[in-house]
C-alpha cells in the first residue's frame, strides 16, 4: 500500500493547500473541512459550557443570586441548543469528514462543494441564534424542546430568529448526511464490502440515514410554529382548534432518533479504540452492526416515552414502555462485546483508552437510568426531575463528549503528525472523569428526592447536593481549558508520530503517513 502512495507523491505538490484565509473559506478538502467542523464545535462547546457554568453558579445555593429567572431560562435553552446542534453534532460531522474517506480508501468526500457549503452555513446559524441574546425580550427561553404554546403564543419576539437558525442547522445536517451516504456507498476501495467496513463508517452510515429521516420533521415543526406566530394558523393553539400535544409528537419523532444520532458515532469510535489498545480484534463485529441498525430502527417507535405524562391512552403507554425497554437488548449486546474484546486482550492505558473505558462504564450507567425511565409508572415520578437531567447528561457528556475527546486523542497524531503530551492527556482525563461524576451523580439523588428540572431556585432539602454538583461542574468546565491547551500544543509540535501511531491500530487511515498528506488515496488501495 505504501508503494501506491509514494508513486503518487509528486502529484501532491500541485494540490497542496492554498495560503491564508481563502484556504479555509473556499476549501473543498475533506481534511480542512473536518478541522473546521472540529474547531467550530469546540468553540460552541466552550460557549455552551459557559452557559452551563452560569446555570450551576445560580444553583450553587438556594435563592436567586446571579441572574434573574427570565435570563436563567434563556441560559438553559441556549445551553441545550448549542450543545446538541453546535457542539456534539458538528464534532461528529468533523470526525466523519476527516476519517470516513481515509477509512474507506476514498480520495475525498463525494460532494466536496456541498461539503464546504454545509459547514459554512453553520456559523451563520449560530450567529443568528446567539444574537437573540441582545434582542428586545431576550433569547429563546422555552427550553431546547421548545414546547408550544410557550414557544409560540408566549414566546419572546426572537423566536423567529431561532426558527430561522434551526432551519439552517437542519439544512447543514442534511447536506452533511447526504455527503456521508454517497461517499460510503460509492467510493469504497475495491474489495471493501459493506461487512468489511470499519465500525465508525458503519455507525456514520446509519446515523446519516437517521438524520435524513428526521431533520425534515424538525423543519416541519418549526415551520408550523412560524405559521402560528406570524400567519394566523392554529396548529398548536388550542384556542384556535389546534393541538399542543401534536407539537410534542412531532418534536419527539425527530427528537428520539436525534439522541441516537448523538450516540451512534460514539459506538463506532469506542469500538476502534478498545480493539486497538486491547491489541485484539473486536469481538462480534457483525453483531455490532446489527445492534446499531436495530437501535436505529427502534428509535422511530419509542418517541412517546418522552411524553408519558401528557395523558396518552393506556394502550399507547404500554406499547411505548415495551418498545423502549427493548432498546436495552441491542445496547446490552454492544457493551458485552466491548467488555469481551478486552477479555484476554493485552491492554494498555493511553489517554484515548482511558476515555473509551470511561465511556463504556458511564454510558452504561446512563443506560441503566434510561431503563428505569422506561418503566412508565416509575417515570411518573422521574419525569421532568433532575433524575432525567442526570440520565441524559450521563449519556451525552461521558457518553458522546468523552467519545469525541477519545477520538481526538486517538487520531490527532494522524491529523498533526505529532504525539500529544501523554501526561497532560491523562491529567485531562482524570479531571474530566472526576468532574463529570461529581456533577451528575448527585443529580440522580436530588431528582429522586423531588427537585424538578429547569428551575432557577429550589427548596432547602436539595441545597447540599446542588452545591456539590456545582463544584463538580466548575472542575469539569475548567479542565476543558486544559484540553484546548493540549490540542494547541500538539498542533504546534511534539514527538513525531509513525504512520501506524499505535501498536494495535488497524485500518486504512494508519497506512498513510502522519500527518496524513493533503490528498490521500488518489489511487484506491486494494482491500483483501
Amino acid at each position: 500500500m505504501s508503494a501506491v502512495i509514494e508513486s503518487h507523491g509528486h502529484d501532491d505538490h500541485h494540490h497542496g493547500p492554498a495560503k491564508g484565509l481563502t484556504r479555509w473559506l473556499y476549501t473543498t478538502n475533506h481534511k480542512d473541512i473536518g478541522s473546521l467542523y472540529l474547531w467550530f464545535s469546540f468553540a460552541m462547546f466552550l460557549i455552551g459550557g459557559a452557559m452551563a457554568m452560569v446555570i450551576r453558579a445560580e444553583l450553587f445555593q438556594p435563592g436567586m443570586q446571579i441572574v434573574e429567572p427570565e435570563f436563567y431560562n434563556q441560559m438553559l435553552t441556549l445551553h441545550g441548543l448549542i450543545m446538541v446542534f453546535g457542539a456534539v453534532m458538528p464534532a461528529f460531522v468533523g470526525l466523519a469528514n476527516w476519517l470516513v474517506p481515509m477509512m474507506v480508501g476514498a480520495p475525498d468526500m463525494a460532494l466536496p462543494r456541498m461539503n464546504n457549503l454545509s459547514f459554512w452555513i453553520l456559523p451563520f446559524a449560530f450567529f443568528i441564534l446567539l444574537s437573540s441574546l441582545f434582542m428586545e425580550g431576550g433569547a429563546p427561553n422555552f427550553g431546547w424542546t421548545f414546547y408550544a404554546p410557550l414557544s409560540t403564543t408566549y414566546a419572546p419576539p426572537s423566536v423567529t430568529f431561532f426558527i430561522f437558525a434551526v432551519h439552517i442547522m437542519g439544512a447543514s445536517s442534511i447536506m452533511g448526511s447526504i455527503n456521508v451516504i454517497v461517499t460510503i456507498m460509492n467510493m469504497r476501495a475495491p474489495g471493501m464490502t459493506l461487512m468489511k467496513m470499519p465500525l465508525f463508517v458503519w455507525s456514520w452510515l446509519i446515523t446519516a440515514y437517521l438524520l435524513i429521516a428526521v431533520m425534515p420533521v424538525l423543519a416541519g415543526a418549526v415551520t408550523m410554529m412560524l405559521m402560528d406566530i406570524h400567519f394566523g394558523t392554529s396548529f398548536f393553539n388550542a384556542a384556535g382548534g389546534g393541538d399542543p400535544v401534536l407539537f410534542q409528537h412531532i418534536f419527539w419523532f425527530f427528537g428520539h432518533p436525534e439522541v441516537y444520532i448523538m450516540i451512534l458515532p460514539a459506538f463506532g469510535i469506542a469500538s476502534h479504540i478498545i480493539e486497538t489498545f486491547s491489541r485484539k480484534q473486536l469481538f462480534g463485529y457483525a453483531s455490532m452492526v446489527w445492534a446499531m441498525a436495530s437501535i436505529a430502527i427502534l428509535s422511530f417507535v419509542v418517541w412517546a416515552h418522552h411524553m408519558f405524562t401528557v395523558g396518552l391512552p393506556l394502550a399507547a403507554e404500554l406499547f411505548f414502555m415495551w418498545a423502549t425497554m427493548l432498546i436495552a437488548v441491542p445496547t446490552g449486546v454492544k457493551v458485552f462485546n466491548w467488555v469481551t474484546t478486552m477479555f484476554k486482550g493485552s491492554i494498555s492505558y493511553e489517554t484515548p483508552m482511558l476515555f473509551a473505558i470511561a465511556f463504556v462504564v458511564l454510558f452504561t450507567i446512563g443506560g441503566f437510568s434510561g431503563l428505569m425511565l422506561a418503566i412508565t409508572p416509575a417515570d411518573f415520578q422521574y419525569h421532568d426531575t433532575y433524575f432525567v437531567v442526570a440520565h441524559f447528561h450521563y449519556v451525552l457528556v461521558p457518553g458522546s463528549i468523552f467519545s469525541i475527546m477519545a477520538a481526538v486523542y486517538y487520531w490527532i497524531p494522524k491529523w498533526t503528525g505529532n504525539m500529544y503530551d501523554e501526561r497532560l492527556g491523562k491529567l485531562h482525563f482524570w479531571l474530566s472523569f472526576i468532574g463529570v461524576n461529581v456533577t451528575f451523580f448527585p443529580q440522580h439523588w436530588i431528582g429522586l428526592a423531588g427537585m424538578p428540572r429547569r428551575v432557577p431556585d429550589y427548596a432547602l432539602q436539595f441545597a447540599d447536593w446542588n452545591m456539590i454538583s456545582s463544584v463538580g461542574a466548575f472542575l469539569f468546565g475548567a479542565s476543558q481549558i486544559l484540553f484546548m491547551f493540549i490540542v494547541l500544543k500538539t498542533v504546534m509540535g511534539g514527538k513525531k508520530a509513525t504512520p501506524q501511531v499505535w501498536e494495535g491500530s488497524r485500518g486504512l487511515e494508519w497506512t498513510v503517513e502522519s500527518p496524513a498528506p493533503y490528498h490521500t488515496f488518489t489511487t484506491p488501495p486494494k482491500v483483501n
Binding site: P62, G63, P69, E70, N73, E136, G137, Y147, P149, L150, T153, Y154, P157, A238, G242, P244, V245, S278, K280, S287, T309, G311, L318, M321, L326, A328, V329, G332, V333, V335, F336, V339, T341, F343, K344, S346, I347, V361, T364, I365, F368, L371, M372, I375, P377, A378, F380, D384, P442, W445, A449, G450, P452, R454, V455, A459, L460, Q461, A463, I468
Partner: protein, 401 residues
Amino acid sequence: MLYINFLFLRYSQLGKKLMFKKAATSISNKFFAGLIILLSSNSFAAWDDLNMTEGVTAISKEVFELHMLIFWICVAIGLVVFSVMFYSMFAYSKKRNPNPSSFHENTKLELAWTVVPFLILVFMAIPASNTLTKIYDDTEGDINIQVVGYQWKWQYKYLEDDIDFFQNLTTDWDEIYNKTPKGEFYLEEVDEAVVIPVGKKIRFLITANDVIHSWWMPDFAIKQDAIPGFINTAWTVVDEPGIYRGKCTELCGKNHGFMPVVVKVVTQDEYDVWVQEKKEAAFRMAELTEKNWTTAELTERGEGVYLKNCVACHQVNGQGIQGIFPNLAGSDIVLNDKERNVEILMEGVQGAAMQSFANQLSEVDMAAVITYTRQAWGNAENGDGKIVIPKDIVEYNKPNI
C-alpha cells in the same frame, strides 16, 4: 434550615465513626460521607433523603417498589458486567498478559446475552404493566376537582360543591432574593391548600389556561401534564391525614420554579366544616359587591390583588419588562380609556401573555385592581383618574367580535 442541620448532624456522626470528624463540614467530606452512606449497608435510613418517596397511597407504594426492583436489577447487571470488565483491565493488562488471545466470535455466547436480557425485561414488564393498568382506572371519583394551571398559580374547582379558589406561592420575594432568612417550607408554601378527605376517591381533572404545566404530587405518585384544550385525569385515595407538597414540573415560563402544589388531607368531619366555611366566604364576597366603595378602599384592596396576581409580569412599579410585558405606568389605556382597560382584564389579549382574569378574580377584586392601576404610579394625576366599581364589572358586556 432544620433539615440542613439535620443532615450536617448525620454526616458528622458518620464522620466520627469513620474518623473524619475534623473535616466533616467541608464539602469534599460531605460528598465522601454521602458516598459512604450510600455504600455502607447499615445506613439505609439515608436512602429516604436521596431516594424516591414511598408516598402515602397504595399506588405510590407500588410505584416505589417498581422503582426499587428495576434499580436492583440494574445494580445486579452492572456488578456482573463491570466485574468482568475490571477483572480484564487488571488481569489482561499489557504487563501481565503480553500476548493477546485471538478469538472474536462465539455464537452461543452472543445468543445468550441477547436472550437473557430479553427475559429479564419481560420479567420486569409484567409488574410494570399491571401497576400502569391500575393507575389508568378512569371510573368517577367521590369528589371531582378540576385543576387549572395558570402562569404561575393553580386554580381548583370542586365540581360538586361549587368551591373555586387559586393557589399562590406565599414565600416572600425577599427570601428568594436573600434579603431575609429562608423559612422551613421555602418555595413549598402556598396561601391556600387543596383540602381533601381521607379514604375517598378523589379524581383530578387537569387542564391549563395558558401554557403547559404539570401537576405533581410525589406522595400520591401523580404527575399529570396540564395542557390547554385537554382535560387529563388522575385519581388518588389517601389514608393518612397530613400536608403534602409538590411542584409544577413542566417549564411554563419565568416563574416555573415558583408554583408549588400543596394538598392537605383531613378527616371527613374536618372536610365538611371546611366546605361549609368556603361556601360562607363566597356568600360574604357576594355581599361586598353590593357595597358602596370609596376610591381609597378600592385602591387599598386593589394593591393586594395586584401584588398577588400582576407583579410577576408588570412588576411592582408597574413598568413591566421591556419588549415582553407592557408598562402600565403612564400607559394610554390605563390613563384615559376606562372601557378598554376593563375589556383587557376581562378578555385577555389575543396572541399575548395577557390572560383573561374574568374567571380568576371576583367582581370586587377586578374593580379594585383596575382602580389601583389607574391610581398608582402617578396615573391618577396624569390621566382622567376614573375609577372602576364592582357594579361596572357586573354590568360589563362581552364585546361583539
